[in-house]
């Protein structure tokens, strides 16, 4: 049995805005096991970043905690005070943000910024910290660490900067690493290298990773399990293979077919319409208005989580025993048929 390191139960968070209460996440539950990567996929506004920020207690001042628990290390992270949170943040749970330039201080040498994490959290003496920083820099693949130690962020390229951010996040041997779209701002070739590094560190340190992204290609690369979010709820979750080769929720189908891949023919199955306004969350299934397969009940009642296998769950009325059988979209069928064969060149 795998060891559970983090448990999120029925979490709901809202924000006070000038137009009314915005329901950012509405009852999200997931577990994170030791040494696995959980990918959270969804479009912007689906609540994936809010879930991550709640875990670290980084929400903005206008947030309202509605319900739920986040269990970590015998504590409920929604209830602990700032001081206790401070001892967890950065030393037990770390986060990497999307833009590496804005998460580094432009007027401080990078070595100092990494050493800061060690000195402030562990009270390590300076000389010792420097030695450890150089070790860390080597670990994340930066050559000539002694020279790089005294350089400033602007002297690094985008990919190198993201490596520095990763070094800061891992300085205190965190158990959980939250990556909020860490490669979205990078070029494809650099993206590949950063993903390689994250995968390697995961294996080496038995890290548990929550990986937030909207790029399904990246998910296929890093994830062990996937949670698909839409309008503040997890609509489907399961092992990576299950989500890609046997998706059950119409939103997952739509996501997979709206991105062109090698198996796509000349027409893209676009998802019509836009995501709902979360100040007025819809009564039934939030995806129903954009869903080709929507039934009458979808507009009236929210579907519960139906169990597909022991590890695979989906919230759609299509899995109800009384639901009609539907024809799967072409793209998902093609993906399953060409399993493992989708790549460019010879």
């Amino acid at each position: 049995m795998k060891q559970k390191v983090l448990e999120v139960k029925d979490l709901a968070i809202s924000f006070k805005t000038q137009y009314g209460i915005l329901h950012a996440i509405r009852g999200v539950s997931f577990d994170l096991y030791k040494g696995e990567t959980l990918a959270i996929v969804g479009e912007s506004g689906s609540g994936k970043s809010v879930s991550a920020k709640t875990i670290l207690g980084l929400l903005a001042g206008n947030s309202i905690y509605e319900s739920g628990e986040i269990n970590f290390d015998g504590l409920d992270l929604t209830q602990v005070d700032e001081e206790a949170m401070h001892s967890i943040r950065g030393s037990k749970i770390s986060m990497i943000f999307q833009d590496p330039m804005s998460s580094l201080n432009p007027i401080q040498p990078v070595g100092k910024q990494i050493a800061e994490a060690l000195i402030n959290k562990q009270g390590m003496p300076k000389a010792m910290a420097k030695e450890r920083v150089i070790e860390l820099l080597t670990r994340v693949g930066i050559s000539e660490p002694e020279k790089r130690f005294n350089q400033y962020p602007h002297q690094f390229s985008g990919g190198m900067r993201q490596r520095i951010v990763i070094a800061i996040a891992l300085a205190n041997n965190a158990e959980i690493l939250i990556c909020d779209e860490p490669t979205t701002a990078l070029d494809v070739t650099i993206q590949g290298k950063i993903l390689e590094l994250i995968n390697e560190l995961k294996l080496q340190r038995e890290l548990s990773i929550i990986f937030i992204t909207h790029d399904l290609g990246v998910v296929a690369n890093v994830a062990d399990r996937v949670a698909v979010m839409y309008a503040g709820k997890i609509v489907e979750y399961g092992n990576t293979e299950e989500i890609f080769y046997d998706p059950k929720h119409p939103y997952t189908w739509a996501l997979l077919s709206s991105m062109p891949n090698l198996a796509t023919s000349k027409h893209l199955d676009a998802i019509s319409g836009t995501p709902p306004n979360m100040i007025f969350p819809p009564k039934g299934d939030a995806f129903a208005p954009r869903n080709k397969y929507a039934m009458k009940i979808d507009f009236e009642e929210q579907p519960p989580m139906f169990k597909v296998t022991d590890t695979h769950y989906a919230a759609t009325w299509l899995l109800h025993p009384d639901a009609p059988k539907v024809q799967l979209p072409e793209a998902t069928i093609r993906l399953r048929e060409n399993r493992g064969k989708l790549h460019y060149g010879k």
Binding site: P125, M128, V188, D215, G217, A220, N261, Y344, G345
Partner: protein, 621 residues
């Protein structure tokens, strides 16, 4: 390959020839020239989608903007529908300089002929170059030698630094461990419950004093009311304090038995301190020992040898310099000793004619080039080019910053028509409404402002703004990069439909390879300002030939876990992948419709590989 012949017969809409755009910054020593686009040539045929891909900084956006005349080109020409619309003349200025240089060279040649001594001069020249080279060699050798001599001193210094550093580090570690241990011992002497009790009491006292202060300074209440309330407050807090005492007293007493006495703790700390001192002393001894072990070199002796060596070297260099000076003098004498032309029997008149011819040639060439510059300058400003370039429009990347937030949608979309002139207000209104419906928005949206729309809708407005001018050719600069996943497909499908409906030709600039493959007919891959590979979409993705393209394609993540977990990545490093010292690469066609940026050797190599791998796959000439 039939497909390509068909393309060749199609009408060329855009013709870009050797386009260059160099950005300059700074002056003098700090002058920096960034060749963002460095000699790009391509044709875009009617009704096709031409994709330009590459990583950030490869010059794809700069290419688009230079074609669009948002940047003025450094060199090269852009033709739309056969008419030249923009041309760079900086390169021609360079050509003029070259002509001048060439003419000068030829004149010297004639003069030399007259002198008839260039053979002697040549020999002297070679000797001089030789001597100078030898001097340089000598200097380098001397430097090496000095370094060699100084080495023992440097070694000693470095080694002693290293020993000192490691000693300090060890001491810091010991101190750190000691501090942690002392903290731990100290914490056993403190009664945690008592601390908590004290904190509770002081917190409540603070609350009490704040509340009484607030009541006393209250202006709204009567005096007797205030007094009554103060009394109540006091009673309330007294109760609290009593409760706290009741709750904590037994707990404190219970905890008291468990903690260790101060004297034991002091004793322990003393032991720790002694241990620390011992450890530090041991470290110090080790440090001193290893420092003593280090053999100190004889500094005075070494310094002496160095100064000897230096004076010896000075002599040698002086000698070499003298010989150079002598050679120079000889060369000068040789020139001054030129025999007069009459002695050599050269016809002076004929030489004069030759000189005249050269200067005439120079004048003619320069005039030609100058005329070209004026012509290009005229073209860039001309009304005709402006009229032609109206047939070319652009869709921008960022749907938020590319729309003026203070204009209504109607003003934004209709602006092009207003600038063009010749439309009444009602006509513009009708056209805007028609356009809005064409891009999938309601015509009633015309009176709204950009902030009232979502990202996808704004991009539709951007598309409508480009299309209202009825263009033949549209440059779409990353139109979907800033959009959400689910919206991207909508915008791509819209562009696809509009292309068929309006017969558009599109230049599609993007970094997302899967979208490019899906949407474009032909693709150019750019790398550092150059096109490295250009081919039909299917051909490029099935048969990538340039190492950069291969590496780029291998890096694209696919939504296919089985493939992703076993991905083989190809790295590309231009420094090791190519050998361009003798043979510069150019863009050349390897099979019809498929060009790569290679030199001769690579061309042969790739061609051989290509025909080996495609053998038996079909009919390939």
């Amino acid at each position: 390959m039939e497909n390509n012949h068909v393309i060749d017969n199609r009408k060329v809409v855009l013709e870009v020839d050797n386009l260059k755009k160099h950005f300059t910054s700074g002056t003098g020593k700090n002058k920096l020239i960034v060749p963002a686009v460095d000699g790009v040539s391509f044709n875009v045929y009617e009704r096709e989608v031409f994709g330009v891909v590459g990583e950030s900084g490869c010059g794809k956006t700069t290419t688009g903007r230079t074609v669009m005349k948002l940047y003025s080109a450094t060199e090269g020409t852009v033709k739309l529908n056969g008419d030249i619309i923009s041309a760079g003349y900086k390169g021609i200025e360079r050509q003029i300089e070259e002509v001048k240089k060439e003419a000068k060279k030829r004149l010297i040649e004639v003069d030399k002929h007259a002198e008839g001594v260039h053979t002697i001069n040549e020999e002297l020249k070679y000797n001089l170059i030789d001597a100078e080279y030898q001097l340089k060699q000598l200097k380098a050798e001397h430097k090496e030698k000095l370094k060699e001599l100084r080495k023992p001193l440097d070694d000693y210094r470095n080694e002693s630094y290293r020993i000192k550093n490691s000693y300090e580090l060890e001491v810091a570690k010991i101190e750190h461990r000691y501090n942690l241990a002392v903290e731990k011992v100290k914490s056993t002497t403190i009664n945690a419950v008592e601390e908590e009790y004290k904190q509770e009491v002081s917190r409540n006292k603070l609350g009490f004093s704040r509340k009484t202060d607030g009541l006393k300074s209250s202006a709204a209440l009567e005096k007797d009311v205030i007094e009554q309330r103060l009394k109540d407050l006091k009673a309330h807090y007294d109760e609290i304090f009593r409760e706290l005492e009741e709750k904590y007293k037994p707990l404190i007493a219970e905890a008291e038995g468990k903690i260790s006495s101060k004297s034991t703790a002091n004793h322990e700390i003393k032991a720790l301190t002694a241990e620390k001192k011992n450890q530090i002393a041991a470290e110090k001894k080790l440090y001193k020992d290893s420092l003593a072990k280090l053999k100190k070199p004889n500094a005075t002796a070494i310094k002496k040898t160095i100064s000897d060596e230096k004076s010896k070297q000075k002599e040698e260099i002086n000698k070499s310099k003298n010989s150079i000076a002598e050679l120079k003098k000889k060369a000068k004498e040789a020139v001054s000793k030129v025999p007069s032309n009459n002695d050599l029997g050269v016809d002076l008149a004929e030489l004069e004619i030759q000189k005249k011819e050269i200067s005439n040639w120079q004048k003619e060439e320069i005039n030609k080039l100058r005329n070209k510059i004026t012509e290009y300058k005229e073209v860039n400003k001309s009304q005709a080019a402006l009229e032609t370039s109206r047939k070319m429009q652009m869709i921008f990347q960022d749907p938020i910053s590319s729309l003026n937030p203070r204009h209504t949608v109607e003003e934004i979309i209709g602006e092009g028509l207003v600038i063009k002139g010749g439309y009444t207000k009602d006509q513009i209104k009708d056209k805007v409404a028609e356009m809005l419906e064409k891009v999938g928005l309601q015509s009633s949206y015309a009176t709204r402002y950009p902030h009232e729309f979502s990202g996808g809708q704004r991009q539709r407005i951007g598309i409508a703004r480009a299309l209202i001018m009825d263009p033949d050719f549209v440059i779409a600069d990353e139109p979907i990069s800033a959009l959400d996943v689910s919206i991207r497909a909508q915008v791509i499908n819209l562009l696809h439909n509009l292309k068929d409906e309006l017969g558009l030709t599109i230049m599609f600039i993007a970094h997302d390879l899967s979208v490019v493959r899906f949407f474009c007919d032909r693709i150019a891959v750019m790398y550092y300002g150059r096109i490295v590979e250009m081919a039909d979409s299917e051909e490029l993705f099935n048969n990538p030939m340039h190492p950069y393209t291969k590496s780029l394609l291998s890096a694209v993540p696919q939504p296919d876990p089985d493939y992703e977990k076993n991905r083989i990545k190809i790295d590309y490093n231009p420094a090791t992948a190519h050998d361009y010292r003798h043979d510069m690469p150019v863009l050349r066609e390897i099979v019809p419709g498929h060009s790569i940026f290679v030199n001769n050797a690579e061309f042969e190599q790739i061609k051989k590989e290509y025909f080996e791998t495609t053998e038996g796959l079909g009919d390939v000439q």
